[in-house]
Amino acid sequence: MAKRVGMEVAVAVAEAVGQCDIDVAAVYPITPQSHIAEHLSDLVADGKIDAEFVTVESEHSAISAVIGASGTGARVYTATSSQGLMLMHELLPIASAMRLPIVMGIANRAVSGPLNILNDHSDIMPQRDCGWISFFVENGQEAIDLSIQAFKIAEHKDVLLPVCINIDGFQLTHMVEPLEFPDQELVNKFLPPRIPYATLHPAKPVTMGAFAMSDYFTEIMKAKDEAIKNSKKVILEVWDEWAKIFGRSYKPVEIYKAEDAEILMLTMGSMGETAEMAVDELRAKGIRVGLIKLRLWRPFPFEEIKSVLQKAKRLIVTDRAVSFGGPGGPVFSEVKSALYAETQRPAVYNYIIGLGGRDVTVHDFVGMFERVLADTANKAVDTYEFWGVRE
């Protein structure tokens, strides 16, 4: 039987990673990720898992250490947040170009400045084009499940790409939630040992990360792009298998009361559950609203998004990061470009919400729905607004 416990989510993520037979973890502590680093370090020091915990001096070294370790064929894990992720940035496209199945947990936190430490998505958005498969989770259970699934997806012979799991800092990492841990035996069956494509070993020398000029660079970028696009097939297969074994199903785009909705709201991450309550509140008044929750950020699920938005008249996209001087929030740009070629598409509104840990309540989500309901002349379409900003 699966074990049901109450546990802080960051600690639970470390526990889940500990179930995955990892060989090497290199994690530099940073708020609000630190509890992942601390608990993984405990698991290794207490002899509960047979792995190396590399105590690096920075996040740049953490990602470098797991790149090297992954090259030897090890199963590796790292985790970070905000400034730490920014420091890792230059290595992220290298990890994906080398097709190393690294798994990284990200406790999402606002990027400085000003120094903030609280939750938003401004740390992951600048990493968008680094060639990593990128998931967002809504609660602690998803954080555990995705952390385990990530290894299977990353290491699949048809994928071989690094994967990151975005876990909203504090709002998820520091919550104590009721969680179900999968049986170790079932995890072992679900996640067999890694079979590396190539390994760094003196007995059979290979070169990884070689130099390439303009004569090959375009082909290499094309190969990487095809690899991440093709990974969706494997992601869906892994989620099917997970549902069969563990009874919890996952989709690239989750919907909540969206089938007959006239206005849809799109969220990513932990705010989905708050938005659900706003949907319930408005539904009780007979207003047909619904919710879309984007779980898969890269590869972007174009087909799923298009099919769920086919009938909607209006769509509100919420963003928890700003693309300064751009067309709106990063999620908004993505969704709009997905819809561009469709003859029937909803009017799209964009609210920038929850920056630097600002609370977004049920009342706020109701307010966004009501604002769009009142915009009968479509005056606020195709533009963005900082929700709740003091004018």
């Binding site: 170009a97 097709r99 190539a198 070689a210 130099f211 000029m213 004569d215």
Partner: protein, 96 residues
Amino acid sequence: MSNKKGPATWRELTTGCVVFEPGSAGEYHTGSWRSQRPVWDNAKCIKCGICYVFCPEGCVQQSEDGFFKANMDYCKGCGICAHECWPRAITIVEET
């Protein structure tokens, strides 16, 4: 670009571009992006070898007759040989 070895299309690349043959770096012809090339005028050359010394790619070689030429597999057309050649025996011409 014509004499390079290696995969022709993106589909033929190894995963992550892993090179499985040790000691094969020399097979990658790093001069493929050259837009200009050095041409020696052996009537002016005094065989001092300063081009050989200064070539940052190490691709200038001395022939049996004592004159010099560059290995075009690796020459990137930087022009340092021509700049350093004080008898002005080397000119830089456009690649066609």
